[in-house]
Amino acid sequence: MTPPSDIIVGIDLGTTFSLVAWCDERGPQVVRDENGDGRVPSVIGFSPDGSLKIGWDARNHAVENPEHTVYSVKRLMGIGADVLARELPYLSYHVISGQRDQVVIEVNGRPVTPQEISAIILRELKARAERQLGREIRKAVITVPAYFDDSQRQATRDAGQIAGLEVVRIINEPTAAALAYGIGQRAATTAPKSTALPIGDKSKCTAPQPVSEDATGAEPSTIAVYDLGGGTFDVTVLRLHDGVFEAISTHGDTHLGGDDFDRVIMDLVQREVREKTGIDIMTPATRQALRLLSEQVKIRLSTNNDARIELDLGNSGKYERTVTRSEFESLIAPLIDRTIDACRRALADAALDPAAIQRIVMVGGCTRIPLVRSRVAEFFKTTPYTALNPDEVVALGAAVQAQILAGGRRDLQLLDVTPLSLGIETMGGAMGKLIMRNARIPCEAREMFTTFMDGQANVKINVLQGERELAADCRSLGEFALGGIPPMPAGIPKIEVAFLIDANGILNVSAREQRSGREASIQVVPAHGLTRDEVRKIELDSVRFARQDMDAHRLIDLRNQIEFDAHKTEQVLARVAETLPREERIAIEESIRVLRKLSQTSGDPEKLHQALEQFGKSTLHLAEFAITRSLQEAQATTKGQV
């Protein structure tokens, strides 16, 4: 068994919400806050004083602090400037292109990578799990969209490392959901009827699931997971048999989700305001307010037929409008078309007809949208399965996978696939595929390389991911430089390069010069990510920043203490005003004023601490004087009572 300190948690690091879950004898459990909510908004607010707001707190203050509230950072993970350009109009915080096409967020004048932002969320989840479980958490399984490429997966793993977590496994969100669904089915069919389903939102489950459709029983069943989250879309076709969850094909879009549904409303309002007033409501604060408003409208339209928008435009008056459900549906129809198209492709890759899918498991908050449900039903010609809580099922599945990895569930096994073909740039700029999409992982391909010049010691390989024929149309994962090739005439060295995609869906490259038998060295310069050294540096820096965060925290505590002490002293002073010598009263009043002034102007916790101590000493006489007075008064009243 796993020692208690080595518990592995499952983390759903989402675009809008993140959750952490763990497994115990009752099954997978989500860590919840005091309101019973497992969701932590993936939002961070940076205050000018260096303190952080995370989760609901940051989300609730997003409009007041628009330029320093970072949200939807998952959409920026492992991407390049090309994708960033599409995201920028919708972000109220500052994003710039850093070195090597790495996206960087500017916070209080300091550049912060999306990996570091994600690490802050991960650290928060880690702390929550530690509070709940009463032990240190060091290991985690983190989920990613199935269609995440290598750079995006690497970035996620790096975020985990920066947060001080050993990322034991990266798993795909739809696969995690299938796992949670499968064990739920298994429990439902084996447990007595009175026992509740261990996972999912039971209140929405209208009918018990028929035994004949047991997902993990002897009869294999084929399911599709339709996962429309806050920022990403995936569809995965899986076969479930006897505890084995075998992914067959997957397709998706890593920039299509609830955010995009909000954006159609944002676009609508922005356009109409421009037409009406001629102004562009592009200030960070209005953009932020509009974003939150649009999200509310979207959610409202899942249950109501219309929703009202009211936006204060300051001097330009007010913008008011009602959006009907059918209007919203016509706006989002093209987005849903894209998801259906992805379903079609996934089925084609699995060589299956829609009718072959026995169940469509719906995951992600956006699957609450009626049009999404009806379009999915129409395509697969069956009612989608919506009994699971679409917000929690991925985290629960991650916790189950964590338990499998800890050796706690030998009866379950995930077998996953790689979403994108992997290849290398060949002569003439073509994409030479080495591993085809939907290949089972781990998988390995070997390729021979040689030199073009006499004595050449290095060979550069451009590694690509994607389905297009030209290297320029595929995603470059970076340049892999093979070094240490023994000096030989051109064309003589035979360097065998092994491209291995591991169980995380992450590429590992190794090389060997066949004639000398020497292991060739490989230097990887990621196209859109951090180098190993950079990750280590940030990890160390984060310890330093954690100190800064602590300082900021201490500053707030000290300022509160100063105000408390000053206020208290004023109260005492008022009480003893008649009896205290005038000079002493004036001196104390002056020191209160000085202390308050310092508290407002100084950001140095040491200085404030000293001043507070000094103040305590200087008011010692007053305190004693007041106590003596109180005692005298108390005695007087006691006497009076006797």
Partner: protein, 205 residues
């Protein structure tokens, strides 16, 4: 050869073949060698035949995959993890080769000494002419926006591909150690033509 056996918990309750295979040697990782160099049929404990039941391959694969998947070795030492990683890659590749009829036929041709697609790119000349005609037809229909007619071509090509698959299966059955070289060449020819059908089908999708 004096081999020290390494004790991976890879023994499988359902699949005999892997249990009988040489277990990994601590020095040379002979299991790895065995798996990566193995006859894929042998690896899954199956007769070398084109006519293997998909359910059979799948059952054998799942039994093996479960035992050598990296998930079961998360707390193992780095060397073991590396061996397991290569091992499961090799088993996955074997499975993907055997479960797909075309790749299975390619593999049968390869292990029986036939030419690879890179060595012999020939296809039947009449196929080339036919494919060219079909391509032009599709282009014309597409230019005219005649989607119904384009959709009607699809079943026709699928039927032709099917007929070729039947020929491939038949040739695979005739490949034996003492088979005439013409069987190999013919199989190569048929396998090469599959790609043309696939490209046409992709063009219609």
């Amino acid at each position: 050869m004096n081999t020290t056996l390494r004790s991976f918990p890879i023994k499988c309750a359902t699949c005999e073949s892997l249990a009988q295979a040489p277990v990994a040697c601590a020095e040379c990782h002979s299991l790895l060698e065995h798996v990566s160099g193995a006859d894929y049929f042998e690896l899954f404990g199956l007769e070398r035949s084109f006519d293997i039941a998909p359910a059979d391959i799948q059952r054998k694969f799942l039994a093996i995959a479960r035992n050598i998947h990296p998930d079961a070795f998360v707390s193992a030492d780095a060397a073991t993890q590396s061996v397991v990683l290569h091992l499961s890659s090799a088993v996955n590749k074997a499975y993907e080769t055997l479960r797909d009829p075309v790749r299975r036929a390619e593999y049968i041709l390869e292990v029986s000494g036939g030419k690879s697609a890179a060595d012999d790119k020939r296809v039947a000349p009449e196929l080339l002419a036919e494919v060219m005609m079909l391509r032009e037809e599709i282009e014309e229909l597409r230019a005219g926006g005649n989607t119904a007619a384009i959709a009607a071509i699809r079943p026709d090509i699928a039927r032709k591909k099917d007929a070729t698959l039947h020929k491939i299966a038949d040739l695979c059955r005739r490949i034996t150690a003492d088979a005439d070289a013409s069987v190999h060449d013919d199989l190569r020819l048929q396998l090469n033509s599959i790609k043309y059908f696939d490209n046409l089908l992709a063009q219609l999708a």
